[in-house]
Symmetry: C2
Subunit: 288 residues, 2 copies
DNA sequence: CGGCCTCTTGACGCGCTTCAATAATAGTGG
DNA sequence: CCACTATTATTGAAGCGCGTCAAGAGGCCG
């Protein structure tokens, strides 16, 4: 039904990236995505491309031809509506999948911009309309990943819709720290790769509020702040800020009329509720 | 790799639904989902179940076993965070896919509640971990549908993050009207199946603001309002309200440094930007 | 150095939440 | 049938969080 095929020549693209091509095997790709590799080959099938800082890897309106997996670097995903308003949707990093918004209608609606120099792996699709039963078990990975992205967006929606500015910022910082940790860096000291504008757009607030919120946290000793360099001094303080968030109080009308009748898993977010607040993949994809 | 299988007995479920079972063929399912049926069989493979008003079709924490397609009725999708705050994520109706949040980690995070009596078709998955190359070409449909849901959430995020209360409400009403229209009802006169609380949660505002916004629209002659019955008198007025929305002004810093180098499709949302504001599927799924 | 950008800080006002009270509706039982 | 209560919706008044406007500080680069 499908056909994941290597397009031998993408040379007709005048896209600003595409230079210095190396290759990546299916096994390597699965490893990168955090999936238990099983029977995948070691043949280098997937093209690796470099992106320069500030460049758009994907543009809105562009026809969908390939997905990307981030190997290194930082990105931002931006949606621009018809009136020219920009909304930052996320800050993808290593091991995250880019371009999934194009799967639905074979056209991208979001722009993906590199915040730093970056490396990505291309996952091309033949544009014949059908895509399915991809080789190497990537199809299940794909579906599950998109589903996770969906859940992440929903979490972000909850945050913007019901929490105050400082709580949102606390969740943002904790989420960034967690992502940094997953990439092998410190979870409490890192460099924000994006400007205040992007943070504000992502969190649904103006840059003045971003600034005030951050300096407020610094003044109260929760964090240390120099430019975009952040050191989290009191993670628990941020956690509390995040949890008490909904001072914009919830109208809880729990109707606990019926008990759980289905087997259920313990509520996943018990330990780190802000998991995935910054971007889709909170952890590697493992088979249950 | 996959295995979409009919689970012969779901009798061990004590779930409140499950009674009065009829059946639905793969072809019928594809038709319902808006996909061009090709070679699908007419054998009734998919179970149809009824849901009573107020019942939960899916609960948070429940293990993922099946997806559902709405045949009739109205639902709401609710996410509840660890502090008990509820966020309404959407109002699915006929032809929409439910339960996709469970694909990622084989556990649902959202609750799906019927707002009215409703009928749904079950799409069961064997829980062996792998799901892929489903029969009847449902796999591509699935992926594209989830991608569309993703785009929808992003649109909702943009609306809540950057627009004012009345603009959000205008977009909501227009979106509801469009869904009603797609279902064969009037797009300008309909009954809101949800209470003010649910609307407010979905739009990120308090119920008092919902009430004030609606009565304000009624007073200015944009709509007529009796209870949950709405008649849109001036669709263009609502459209303008929606478009001028970002009085919470955008910080547009367009850096149009590079020109479009890729083939692009005309910006989809030129005609009805609020498409899909209320729920995922703005139209049937067709091959490009 | 000077221009340009990002970020900060202050003062003010508006939009929405919050609190509180009332009204309209539906469901229940006598 | 009407009283009775619970739920849902409306309306008003007051407060504040955050957007808005304006000015200034700090960093980057030619």
């Amino acid at each position: 039904m499908v056909s994941l095929a290597i397009q031998p020549s993408l040379a007709n693209r005048t896209s600003p990236r595409s230079r210095g091509a190396s290759w990546c095997s299916a096994k390597g790709l699965n490893t990168l995505l955090g999936v238990d590799a099983t029977e995948e080959s070691d043949l280098p099938l997937f093209r690796c491309v470099q992106v320069r800082s500030g460049q758009s890897l994907i543009r809105a309106g562009q026809v969908f031809t390939t997905l990307f997996v981030v190997k290194a670097g930082f990105f931002k995903t931006v949606f621009t509506d018809e009136t020219g308003n920009e909304q930052v949707l996320g800050f993808p990093v290593k091991s995250e999948l880019l371009g999934t918004d194009g799967l639905g209608d074979h056209a991208h609606v979001n722009e993906v911009v590199a915040l730093t120099a970056a490396d990505v792996v291309e996952i091309p699709f033949t544009c014949l309309g059908t895509l399915a039963s991809m080789q190497a078990g990537l199809d299940e990975t794909l579906l599950r990943t998109v589903s996770r992205q969906l859940v992440h967006e929903q979490l972000a929606l909850t945050m913007i819709g019901a929490m105050r500015a400082d709580s949102r910022m606390a969740g943002f910082l904790l989420g960034i720290g967690q992502k940094m940790n997953a990439m092998g860096y410190s979870s409490v000291e890192f460099n924000l790769q994006m400007n205040r504008q992007a943070i504000g757009s992502y969190l649904g607030m103006k840059i003045e509020t971003v600034s005030r919120t951050l300096t407020g946290m610094a003044r109260s000793g929760l964090i240390e702040l120099h430019q975009r360099q952040v050191r989290i001094l009191k993670p628990d303080g941020l956690r509390e800020l995040y949890r008490q968030g909904p001072l914009k109080k919830s109208n809880i009308t729990r109707d606990d009329s019926a008990a759980q009748t289905q087997p259920s898993v313990p509520h996943q977010s018990a330990q780190t509720p802000w998991s995935g607040l910054v971007t889709g993949l909170s952890g590697p994809l493992r088979r249950p």
